[in-house]
């Protein structure tokens, strides 16, 4: 006698459940390349940097020993590092503030119809498209302490008297001005495009209503348009800040951190110590200092953006 107990058949999936399951699989499949990229090129190097910062690793050796927080202690005690940390904040804050202001102005200008708008837009976007190494080589000549075209023009215009000269890359303050100028020039197109997208997304009826209610230009900008653009502004600022905070190319190509290590930012100092100097542990320790600031910035900005969306 057959005593097999019949197993109740699984309830058939409804059409909705089948679609949801395949949606989930599709979602995972489509996210996978980005996640793998982030894991391989961001997460793993970050964890490696964290580990190396606790060791005496050097460029010429595959062996290392753990030294605890010694690298961090040495780095914090270094006047060069403290200067680089300060420079990083100044570089980021000043350049991004300038970019936001100028980007707003450019975006508003590009909203208006005018002849040659296409060409203007192309020229504005060009710095973003140009490879930074080539662009910086051009700027290197513009700011050259001996052959600067800026100085030459100022001299011809009578601004610089006899014996007067701007040593753009040989003076600590002027060096930072030069670095910030290039970063603004480079980031402006990106911010302009994002702000333009934000401005054009504001319905015209809102502007018209505010005009009817007697709002002036600045009232309209600061009380209506900027609050409405906050999510987009947040994205622009977040990208700009992160990009600038972690950038080393402008400093490395323009001043190499000089004069006497006074224009280094954290990224360029990490490169000089870790790669050029061969002290990988120390370089990693310098680089790790970027992380807490970036995390705080990202959390803050994303929260601000989310709050604005909810409202």
């Amino acid at each position: 006698m057959n005593t097999t107990t019949a197993v109740p058949a699984a309830p058939a999936l409804t059409a909705g459940e089948t679609i949801r399951r395949s949606d989930r699989r599709l979602g995972v499949l489509m996210l996978a390349p980005a996640l793998i990229y982030i894991a391989l090129l961001v997460a793993i190097p970050f964890l490696l940097a964290l580990v190396l910062s606790l060791t005496n690793s050097s460029a010429g050796s595959l062996e290392f020993s753990f030294v605890g927080l010694q690298n961090f202690k040495n780095v914090v005690a270094s006047a060069v590092f403290r200067r680089a940390l300060w420079n990083t904040f100044v570089f980021t804050f000043v350049s991004q503030l300038t970019v936001m202001v100028l980007g707003n102005v450019l975006a508003r200008a590009l909203m208006k119809p005018f002849r040659g708008k296409g060409l203007a837009r192309f020229l504005i976007l060009l710095p973003w498209a140009a490879p930074i190494s080539l662009a910086t080589l051009g700027w290197l000549w513009i700011f050259d302490s001996t052959f600067s075209v800026i100085n030459w023009v100022l001299k011809v215009a009578g601004w610089l008297g006899p014996g007067q000269w701007y040593y753009w890359l040989g003076d600590t303050t002027l060096g930072m001005v030069a670095i910030i100028t290039i970063q603004v020039w480079r980031m402006l197109p990106f911010s302009t495009v994002i702000l333009l997208a934000g401005l054009t997304s504001i319905p015209n009826e809102v502007r018209e209503a505010s005009a009817i209610d007697g709002a002036g230009l600045f009232s309209r900008i600061f009380r209506i348009e900027i609050p409405m653009m906050r999510p987009i502004l947040t994205v622009a600022v977040l990208f700009g800040v992160v990009f600038t905070f972690t950038d080393m190319s402008v400093v490395y190509l323009l001043t190499r951190g000089g004069p006497y290590n006074s224009t280094h930012v954290l990224a360029s100092l990490a490169f000089q110590e870790g790669v050029l100097g061969g002290d990988v542990g120390r370089g990693a320790a310098v680089a790790i200092f970027l992380v807490p600031v970036l995390v705080i910035l990202a959390v803050f900005m994303l929260r601000t953006s989310r709050r604005a969306e909810v409202v």
Partner: protein, 471 residues
């Protein structure tokens, strides 16, 4: 008919499969070419472009004769160390890596070339002392590199200007520079920088500040590897730099890169620089107005008569431990030394052989080879085959060996000296003292502490001697 969802799923799957195939393909299809006899060389892009035009065909021809396919990659000089770091981290890349400064930091990752060095000595005699001190570590007793060439670092001066101020043969001592600076300003007010000695974070400045330091009796280490930067002699050098900067330089020199002093001299914006003959050859190639006034002097003397200059460039060829063709690599290095005459001529006398004996006349007995090689070198310098006017303009280079020395003087080159070089500890010390950013004493102490930190670290790795007598 497929739905949009089905299309997206199939398309995504196809892309994923394609990407996987692309990644896997080469590992399946291509055999390891190294097994077939390949040699990859990483070489700097020479400051005299004509040299690379000789080197690349030389390497190919050598390879063809020896059944090896030789590939040469040229990188900017600033990329030499980062590329080495990358190759070591990946444990693959090139077989031979040419350093133009100190290769000693990578000692652990390279093979011992004592056999090559011994073979070359048996063939040509000993290398010049500064090449030996740049490629051998007496602490670990390892010949970590082979040098085929070094480059003298003479003073380059503007003869017309110096004649006007009463010194037609140029400066002899560092005090001459301090004396000359205000005189140059009077006779050539258009010159932006009367004395063009760099104090910036670049290779030329690194050499220049070491020259100043040594000629004033100071040094980073003593001959036994103890850090002795904190000394009255160093202070004297810094006081000198401060004086020279105040009378003869501007902030421009704080921003110079490796090409800046060349550019300034060729544009007649300065009357004196420390440089190899690369700037001169550029002036020749481009027939610049400065050419007729372009002359050379030996290393300057310090206050006690010490006359020393660092080599401007010292080649150090290493063979990585991960190289799969180490024997061929060793033979290549020997072949390169064999071609020392051709190398010197191809570089327009920029390269000086590290083995003088390799430039000797054929059939010269071993004990006379260095002498014969020196005679040949002198013959080239005394009558420049590349059109100097007068023909003996470069004659002083033939006598440059006595006043040329290695990075690490008075000791051997080592990884700590290399790290101090590559992180600009010394140029910063001089720049801060010269500009008043720090007092000379504070500047010296800051640099000394950093130097001791670096030396201590490398001593813990047992690659650098000394420590008991650090100042």
């Amino acid at each position: 008919m497929q739905t949009r969802r089905q299309f997206v799923v199939r398309g995504t799957t196809l892309v994923a499969v394609g990407a996987a195939a692309t990644a896997a393909g080469p590992t399946i299809v291509v055999r390891d070419a190294r097994a077939a006899g390949q040699l990859k060389v990483l070489q700097w892009a020479h400051f005299v472009p004509a040299y690379d035009k000789w080197f690349d065909p030389f390497a190919k021809e050598w390879g063809a004769k020896h059944g090896v396919e030789v590939t040469v990659d040229h990188v900017n000089f600033a990329e030499v160390v980062p590329r080495a770091t990358a190759d070591v981290a990946a444990q693959s890349g090139h077989d031979i890596h040419m350093f133009i400064g100190l290769a000693s930091a990578f000692e652990e990752q390279v093979i011992d070339l004592t056999d090559v060095s011994s073979a070359l000595e048996k063939k040509y005699g000993k290398p010049v002392e500064l090449a030996h001190r740049s490629t051998y570590n007496p602490f670990t007793r390892k010949q970590f590199a082979i040098s085929d060439m070094w480059v003298p670092d003479p003073g380059n001066y503007h003869k017309e200007i110096w004649t006007k101020i009463g010194k037609p043969n140029g400066p002899v001592s560092y005090d001459d520079l301090v004396w000359a600076a205000p005189e140059v300003k009077k006779v050539a007010p258009q010159m932006q920088i009367p004395i063009g000695i760099g104090l910036s974070q670049d290779i030329d400045s690194n050499m220049a500040v070491r020259n100043m330091l040594w000629c004033h009796g100071g040094s980073i280490q003593d001959k036994d590897g103890n850090v002795v930067l904190n000394s009255p002699e160093t202070l004297r050098a810094l006081e000198y730099a401060k004086k020279l900067y105040s009378v003869g330089m501007t902030q421009a020199v704080l921003s110079w890169n490796a090409a800046s002093n060349n550019q300034a001299f060729n544009a007649q914006e300065t009357s004196y620089i420390l440089n190899s003959i690369s700037a001169y050859r550029t002036a020749q190639d481009n027939k610049l107005p400065v050419l007729d006034h372009y002359f050379f002097v030996p290393a300057l003397k310090g206050p006690t008569g010490t006359q020393l200059a660092s080599e401007h460039v010292m080649s150090g060829y290493v063979i990585w431990k991960f190289s799969k063709n180490q024997d061929a690599a060793k033979e290549f290095l020997v072949g390169l030394i064999d071609a020392s005459r051709e190398s010197m001529l191809a570089s327009k006398l920029y390269n000086f052989p590290s083995y003088y004996g390799a430039a000797a006349e054929a059939n010269t007995p071993l004990n006379k080879k260095s002498e014969s090689g020196a005679a040949w070198i002198a013959a080239q310098c005394n009558k420049d085959p590349f059109g100097s006017n007068p023909p003996d303009k470069l004659a002083l280079l033939a006598k440059s060996l006595p006043w040329s020395t290695n990075l690490g003087y008075p000791g051997f080159a080592n990884p700590a000296e290399g790290e101090i070089f590559d992180t600009y500890v010394l140029t910063d010390m001089f720049a801060k003292a010269a500009t008043g950013a720090l007092s000379p004493k504070d500047s010296m102490m800051e640099a000394s502490n950093r130097a001791k930190e670096i030396f201590t670290k490398w001593r813990q790795k047992k690659m650098v001697p000394g420590g008991g007598k650090d100042k």
